[in-house]
């Protein structure tokens, strides 16, 4: 079965057996049905890629290959960061996969500190794969579980539409300050993934929005362009420069434009008539 077909089946199954999720899903207005279906495909492609990339990443850790594991850390994470607004709907998986040491009382030593950042901590701070095997296996298992749940999920339209702003808020809160990937300093990779995820939602909704508010579309598109161009200065052959290479003036520009995007995109739900 193709991924697209499986997704359709999943949506049907979900509609029939009412998922045990904590939010009430509103009916998608007619003009949002196609963008949301397209977005679901985008997310599923990323979670499928997440599994593939995590498989290699975990294999490197278990083989004791610190160098390869380090090289695979940031690109693997990008698959998760791009679809964060949906991934976050499953809070158990989100905290297992993506919590930071700050979220735990005993910080790095806390047994509840697992997932990407725990592996990052071991690989960079300890420069070793030692003792990471179990956490690595859990990461892969959680990634698989995430994909399975997403395929079955009826995407709540307000979460999809709201996701564009949520991703920019993510950037504004932790990526712009270099707090997210504090051991590896690969924050700009995450930044790029959040950015792409947000822009994807906007681009999918653009035809609907353009009819309602062309000036708004123009302004948002301009800010996306500025962020994209600024970030592009930090591209390298493999991905992105370490966070500390980010210049003070560029940081200010990114901060302002990301805040402005979060502000503008926070009106998307209202503009599209969603509660």
């Amino acid at each position: 079965m193709t991924l697209a077909n499986r997704l359709k089946m999943g949506a049907l199954a979900a509609a029939l057996c009412a998922p045990g999720l904590a939010w009430a899903t509103q009916e998608a207005p007619l003009d949002l049905v196609q963008p949301i279906a397209d977005y679901k495909l985008y997310v599923a492609v990323h979670t499928e890629k997440l599994i593939a990339d995590a498989t290699k990443f975990v294999a490197a850790i278990k083989a004791g290959d610190t160098k390869t594991a380090k090289a695979l850390y940031a690109p693997t994470r990008m698959n998760y960061e791009a679809v964060e607004p949906v991934a976050e709907l499953f809070s158990d998986l989100d905290s297992a996969l993506d919590s930071r040491a700050d979220d735990h009382e005993k910080k790095e030593e806390d047994p509840g500190f697992t997932g990407f950042h725990r592996l990052e901590y071991g690989l960079w701070e300890k420069n070793s794969t030692q003792g990471l095997s179990e956490t690595a296996d859990k990461l892969l298992a959680d990634a698989k579980e995430l994909h399975a749940r997403i395929v079955k999920l009826t995407f709540p339209p307000e979460k999809v539409v709201g996701g564009a702003a949520a991703l920019m808020e993510e950037v504004a809160k932790t990526k712009i300050s270099g707090e997210e990937d504090r051991y590896s300093h690969t924050d700009l990779w995450d930044f790029k993934a959040n950015f792409d995820g947000s822009q994807k939602i906007f681009v999918l909704l653009e035809p609907v929005l353009a009819k309602k508010d062309p000036d708004f579309v123009k302004k948002v598109a301009e800010n996306f362009t500025v962020v994209d161009a600024t970030l592009a200065k930090y591209r390298t052959a493999e991905g992105y420069e370490p966070y500390d290479k980010l210049s003070e003036p560029d940081r200010t520009v990114l901060s302002a434009k990301v805040n402005a995007l979060a502000e503008d995109l926070s009106t998307l739900r209202g503009k599209l008539g969603l509660n």
């Binding site: 800010n223 003036p249 200010t252 520009v253 901060s255 302002a256 434009k257 805040n259 402005a260 979060a262 502000e263 926070s266 009106t267 739900r269 209202g270 503009k271 008539g273 969603l274 509660n275």
Partner: protein, 435 residues
């Protein structure tokens, strides 16, 4: 625009109003006794009721004028300074920001109803002051920093003559995160939530061009009205009256000379006339150590009596008495190293160094060793940075007070000239001066 409470005003539908209404119904059925009981209950607030403001909550400080408000206007109880970095790549972007700031400040300082929006959209206003924003004597004063000019070739030639980047003094321990900025906003109001509301409003409305760099809140103790109607200088966190020797801020001619840049400053760019140099210093006070210092020593450190604020040796004096240093050349009454004597030796040649101080006290948190992080949000205004603050601070370097203080942040800024009327905007003279 009105801020008088009318029956349609949502404030009228408070719990107290409801209780009074209930009392009236009870009175109809149960006689006068019930009505009295209900009334006295109505007069007794619940634990979390909003404290009743002083009548000042509805007073406004005018926004339009030759100078910005918040410099020589009386300092209210609460203040915040917030420093921002700017994304303004060209004069047009800077002008857009200045116009936006003007529009927001004109509204916030005069008060009114927050606009209603479709409930599907995020609200236009944070709502922390309710649907009707009381002016609360709010002032928002906009100033610009050295980096605004230095980082932009098209602004560099227009930098005010003595504006510079703050550099550390011998007793400083500057923290990069708490220093400098392209723009500084100073908020002053009778209550801190009014300032916070204004800050949030401005952040929301300017997020595409300003990024918050640091902020500091502060307040001064309020005092009950005096029977003789006189007022006194507020006390700082070392327990001393602070501001006693300030030049008279009601003397316009004096303020033109000491505070405002004007025609008397031929070297200043013309656009800067009506503005002022602003110094912000975040100064931590080691209050636990201070509280273990004998009173006599405390008084000698400042040169003033703690309760009255009078200069030492003036029996039964007041804080407004003037010390006679000429009659005390060896410092028997006022030590030669006393803070106020160093700050202002009162010699003809130091007349040019007068400044106006308008600070607030802050209490930030707790250090790793369990000490209070309290201090002074020092704010001063002068017509010349070098002649004013820099000259005074260089005389203070090494003073005995340093044992109890540690400056860690702040910066030097230039207060833009005032907004004359509705057709004017903040920074217009600067924008128009760009070649």
């Amino acid at each position: 625009m009105t801020t008088t409470k009318t029956p349609s005003c949502p404030f009228a539908a408070s719990r107290r109003g409801f209780l009074l209404g209930a009392g009236a119904i009870a009175a109809a059925g149960g006689g006068a006794g019930a009505a009295i009981a209900a009334e006295s209950e109505a007069a007794r607030p619940q634990v979390a009721d909003a404290p009743i403001a002083h009548s000042d909550a509805r007073r406004r400080t005018p926004f339009y004028g030759v100078h910005q408000a918040g410099v020589v206007t009386p300092r209210p109880a609460c203040g915040i300074v917030a420093a921002f970095d700017l994304v303004a790549a060209n004069p047009e972007e800077l002008q857009t920001l200045f116009r936006k700031l003007t529009e927001r400040i004109a509204f916030l300082t005069q008060g009114g109803r927050a606009p209603d929006r479709d409930p599907k959209l995020p609200p236009a206003d944070s709502g922390i002051l309710g649907p009707v924003i009381e002016p609360d004597e709010l002032t928002v004063t906009v100033s610009v920093g050295d980096s605004l000019f230095e980082d932009r070739a098209w602004l560099k030639p227009l930098k005010p003559k003595t504006l510079m980047r703050m550099a550390g003094f011998p007793n400083d321990a500057l923290v990069a995160r708490s220093c400098h900025g392209d723009v500084l906003l100073q908020f002053c109001a009778n209550s801190q939530p009014t300032n916070i509301h204004a800050l949030r409003d401005i952040i929301k409305n300017t997020s595409d061009s300003m990024v918050l760099r640091w902020r500091q809140e502060g307040s001064v103790p309020v005092v009950p009205p005096q029977p003789d109607g006189k007022s006194e200088s507020a006390r700082n966190f070392l327990g001393f009256r602070d501001g006693s020797a300030n030049p008279d801020s009601n003397d316009d001619a004096l303020m033109e000379k000491i505070v405002w840049v004007g025609a008397g400053d031929p070297d200043e760019p013309k656009w800067a006339h009506g503005g002022s140099y602003q110094v912000v210093r975040l100064i931590r006070m080691l209050v636990e150590d201070w509280d273990r210092t004998p009173l006599g020593e405390q008084e000698r450190i400042f040169g003033r009596e703690k309760w009255s604020g009078a200069p030492l040796g003036v029996l039964g004096g007041s804080e407004h008495d003037i010390p006679d240093y000429a009659a005390d050349p060896k410092g028997d009454l006022t030590p030669l190293t006393a803070h106020m004597r160093l700050a202002n030796p009162r010699r003809p040649e130091t007349e040019a160094n007068l400044i106006v101080r308008r600070g607030f006290n802050f209490s930030n948190g707790v250090t790793k060793s369990g000490h209070l992080e309290d201090g002074l949000l020092f704010l001063s205004y002068q017509a010349d940075l070098a002649q004013g603050f820099l000259a005074v601070q260089s005389r203070l370097n090494g003073e005995p007070l340093e044992e109890y203080i540690k400056p860690f942040g702040g910066g030097y800024f230039f207060v833009l000239p005032g907004v004359r009327d509705e057709s004017d905007y903040l920074g217009r003279s600067l924008i128009e001066a760009i070649a």
